[in-house]
Amino acid sequence: MIHLENLHKTFKTKAGPVKAVDGVGFTAADGAITGLLGPNGAGKTTTLRMLYTLMKPDVGSVRVDDRDAYREPEAVRRSLGVLPDARGIYKRLTARENIAYFGRLHDLDDAQIRRRTDRLVEALGMRDFIDRPTEGFSQGQRTKTAIARALIHDPKNVVLDEPTNGLDVMTTRALREFLKQLRAEGRCVILSSHIMQEVGALCDHIVVIARGKVAIQGSADSLRAQTGEANLEDAFVKAIGSEEGLQA
């Protein structure tokens, strides 16, 4: 379970301070997919970066499985599987070596790494390219490698920043099935997206973020009720106040 409370983050820029996240808070339950929906620049990535301890919030707290992320950052990172917005992989290593590197950094031994890699290869459909150097991989192959690498330690909590960005339809569908599988295994899954249909189809709990604030949150039914719109996408647009930066 992941609990975020009243997160604030301001960046200094040449043009003056920019408030990227302005009081975001929500709870992501185990065995559920929580979706952050918002236009580009709404503060989704910054919120997630604070969640996986890359950045320190100015105000607010992050708790992962009842551990404070800023008192025990290493323990929290150990219990998280993270696919960040930046998902570069090492070109001179094979996909398997990329995954094994992260496994070792998570203190796994070689036997554990082999076993879990085999399972992820099966689940993500990576058999054709698992032993190839990643130079020249397609976007989908790179994303799959990055996801496998993030999940090598079998984390209870999974955080994915725009996981379907740049993927083709087939890969996207396969990935969604994989996320449902993670949910069925009782994991706590958080993903961010700017695609309304994806969040609507996949997520049990939806947090709509705009201009650094939570505009509205709840289940799909609850969002429809709160906005008085019969159509979920209309509810999103109404809550944010514009369609700009969103994708149907």
Partner: protein, 390 residues
């Protein structure tokens, strides 16, 4: 600690998969040294031999004024040529190394036993005319002394009277030290290959990792930031030391082959090579940590590389300063980076003793500074902006 080891192994595996980098980073300087040492050695030797021993072409202006002098110069293995139309231009355009002008008043002064004027035309900024000019000077001086002595004898005076003080030199330089003089450029090359040997790995591992967006996922693992950074520095140090070891082996082999010429007898015994290794190890650490510090604070690989030119100049500074302002070895020198290595390398090659105090000062400051830079780089790695690419 464990994270550092994992990161180090992965960085090394990655770099050894890139043949071009391995070739450039590990084999270039070991291949360059023999070429430089054997090539330069034989070049310098053959040049000084030909310039010293071959017939020197010497254009003379006004040769008709002093036929005896010209005949004497011919006897000194010089080929007297007619003067070019514009002697000054011939020197300036580097067509001639040296010219001799005999003054029209020469015969008159000669007969009156006055000092007769001759003039040597040359360009003192041209190194390769140095030997010809010295030869002409020596010949003229010999002629002058010979005729002067004859004149004194003709007047019944002992020529020795004209020499109030006779200056003799006793050169106490050891043979190794004399040879070491021609080695002024070697410390720079050795220091440079130690200092920047791990450069590629550092830039690729920090600025490059950020540019390729793989740093953020790495920092999302439980591994501590200082552990990750230490692993990268350690990998660069291992790579740099491997390059250094290969360079020193090739250094030893090429001096073994360059058994003649100006490099003859340079001390490249195993002990000396071992000492060089100890001298250069702190340099590997310094270069790697300094570059990590730079590469972790800039945004792109390009930006990091732009600092390389500056870093390449650093090791040359002491050599240049010593060239302009030579100073005696003092203990403070062994605490000054680059200067210390420069002096120590020369001392090793000249087979001079290095005192325990000098070793202690050198190693303490060299390694101490390296550790300090290491800690500074670790601090920088804890900055939030580091992870966020572009």
């Amino acid at each position: 600690m464990k994270a550092a080891r994992i990161v180090m192994v992965k960085e090394l595996v990655e770099i050894f998969r890139d043949r071009k980098i391995v070739l450039n980073g590990l084999l270039l300087s070991p291949l360059l040294f023999p070429l430089l040492i054997i090539g330069l050695g034989s070049l310098a030797e053959s040049r000084s031999r030909t310039q010293l021993e071959s017939e020197l072409p010497l254009p003379v202006i006004g040769a008709e004024h002093a036929p005896n002098l010209v005949a004497y110069l011919r006897s000194q293995n010089m080929d007297i040529e007619p003067a070019p139309a514009d002697p000054d231009a011939a020197i300036r355009d580097q067509e001639k190394d040296v010219l001799l002008r005999i003054d029209p008043s020469f015969p008159e002064d000669w007969r009156a036993s006055r000092a007769a004027n001759v003039e040597i035309l040359h360009d003192s900024s041209r190194q390769d005319s140095e030997i010809p000019v010295r030869r002409v000077e020596a010949a003229l001086k010999g002629y002058s002394q010979q005729v002067g002595a004859l004149r004194l004898i003709a007047r019944g005076i002992d020529p020795g009277l004209a020499t109030a003080v006779r200056v003799n030199h006793r050169d106490l330089a050891t043979p190794e030290a004399k040879r070491g003089m021609s080695l002024a450029f070697l410390p720079y090359l050795l220091i440079l290959s130690a200092f920047l040997g791990g450069a590629y790995l550092v830039i690729d591992g920090t600025a490059g990792e950020r540019e390729r967006q793989s740093l953020e996922p790495l920092l999302a693992t439980p591994a501590s930031r200082s552990g990750i950074m230490s692993g990268k520095i350690a990998a660069a140090c291992v790579f740099g030391m491997l390059g250094l070891l290969l360079t020193l082996i090739s250094f030893k082999l090429s001096f073994a082959f360059a058994a003649s010429g100006p490099f003859k007898g340079v001390d490249v015994s195993l002990l000396a090579i071992g000492k060089l290794l100890v001298v250069l190890l702190p340099m590997v650490l310094l270069g790697t940590t300094l570059l990590t510090l730079i590469a972790a604070s800039v945004k792109t690989v390009k930006e990091a590389q732009s600092y390389m030119a500056m870093l390449m100049l650093l090791p040359i500074l002491p050599t240049v300063i010593l060239l302009v302002n030579p100073v005696k070895n003092a203990l403070w020198m062994f605490a000054t980076p680059f200067l210390a290595q420069n002096q120590l390398i020369l001392m090793v090659l000249r087979a001079e003793d290095i005192s325990p105090a000098q070793w202690a000062v050198y190693l303490a400051t060299g390694l101490g500074l390296g550790v300090l830079l290491w800690l500074a780089a670790a601090r920088l790695y804890h900055r939030e902006q580091l992870a966020v690419s572009a």
